[in-house]
Symmetry: C2
Amino acid sequence: MVEGETAEDHSGSSVLGVDVGGTWVRVGLVSQEGKVSESRRYIMDSHSQKSTLDSIETALAHFINFWKGPKPLALGVGLVGHTRPSAGLWVLAMNLPIQSSVPIRRLLREKTGLPVAIDNDVHAATLAELRWGMGKGLQNFVYLNIGTGLAAGMVCDGKLLRGAANYAGELGHMVVDPGGILCSCGQHGCLEPLCSGAGILAQVRSGLREYPNSSLFRAARGGTLTASQVFQAAEAGDLLAGRITGRAVQALSTALTNLVNLVNPSAIFYGGGVVGDGWLMGKVSEFVFANCLVAARHALKGIWASRFDPEQVGLVGAACLAWDYLERRRESTKMGDKN
Amino acid sequence: MVEGETAEDHSGSSVLGVDVGGTWVRVGLVSQEGKVSESRRYIMDSHSQKSTLDSIETALAHFINFWKGPKPLALGVGLVGHTRPSAGLWVLAMNLPIQSSVPIRRLLREKTGLPVAIDNDVHAATLAELRWGMGKGLQNFVYLNIGTGLAAGMVCDGKLLRGAANYAGELGHMVVDPGGILCSCGQHGCLEPLCSGAGILAQVRSGLREYPNSSLFRAARGGTLTASQVFQAAEAGDLLAGRITGRAVQALSTALTNLVNLVNPSAIFYGGGVVGDGWLMGKVSEFVFANCLVAARHALKGIWASRFDPEQVGLVGAACLAWDYLERRRESTKMGDKN
């Protein structure tokens, strides 16, 4: 690696992004224009907090060892669950076994020698949408991510809405049917178990007892079933798939209409495995435009698929955190020069 | 009236606030500290758009005629429904018959000779909570108003969340029970018909057919019934009151838990006639703290009654718009001086 580069010279340089997911750790180099030049994915061993952290460190070490180009300027890390970016802490996660607060920024700075910025993964993807994506130049939009889990990033007045503890955006736990399925959070009728990837697959598995002749049987038992296959089966008349997708469409339609009435965005962008084929959001968009309040509808210009590659959006989001950090540092250096 | 005062000299001076409600138009003088020194209320004749606007103009003319002190510095107007403050337009209202866009700022400037600032009434009350109330110094809070209608103002990162068309905050149209009552907005199961003042009274009226022996009968038919009486009747074992309040508690509990999970506030303040006796919010607060996500609960320090007098909060909010306007004008003059 080339030593002695200064952080002020960004031209032609890259940052490192790390997207920490439930199945994979993705590591890659991302330019200041948001282009991924190199990336690799590594297995996440999530059986314990220690194995989760080891998986991240091993992935990073392997990637850095393999990379022979110029040293990255900084490292950005997108994490599921609750983070405290200013303190560098990964506080808690539900979809990975993080039960006690981890000083992840310090750990990774010590391992890599790079400045490190961390944040929640959906916040990170939303910031990438704002910096490089379809949200560029917009003041008020929502980024909706539906993969294994479900969450939203809200940009209001040009800034990511973080809330009091950097925890804003938990749309997955909006209750849309108080008599509905029990969620892992303890409430009944949350959106996430009804229409996240994990929620849809769990519903198929439990529904096979009642619908043993469902066309989903083989793929579900073989562990290869995707949300997209469930949507296709529903279109083909499969009863179990029809029941599950009907509930998912209704739940997401209600939740997004609520969200539009509440935060009055001019656009919604969506990404993630469950919405990759456009089926679910096609139905939901129609409902939202037909049912939200008039003034909110007039302001909402569209509900569109994000242009980021679903496989890379997490990585690009993580890298965006690093670019944001470098920008803030440059600005505070300038301010220091002036004072 | 004293002529020739400059807008730069605010010491000891007041602005005029106008709170435009469905029943009353309140007009009053409010100091830079948020104190109401003089106020009067006038009947709102809301049978048409013209009579609504006439009521506002007549109220203002009467108050100005009656007031013999120094000329107010500016006029702030809080309006129900959709407004465009920067264009000075009252675009639409559901609880007053405003069906076509009214250039209310220009109309009232011509009538009074004062600079005029307008906004939605709940936005205005939220800004007053931020400037003078319990939200002073807080970065992330929600102001919940439940009177005849229901809406919320959200302050995020120290600023009122306005959305793309200044329409954010329509919590009253959050669907919390897709199989619920039909709302005037066209959806089923919105919060507003379940727990706003108008919604609760409408439920009593329609429920009396099924519960003719309800203790609410006399007050409901006499037109004197309040939400507080319905809560008391429920506590005393009245079946109709119990059914209505049970639904109201459940609906508001679900909606506020959803809101807390979504925007992660550090406090919720509430005001308005329906929550004035503390009964409803006592039950709802308990539910929210027991059911919201752990990180959101840790960040939420409390759910408290606003300290503003419920009779005056609309007026104080309206006046806050005028003070905000004067401050912005002073700052832009300063900027102009520098450039």
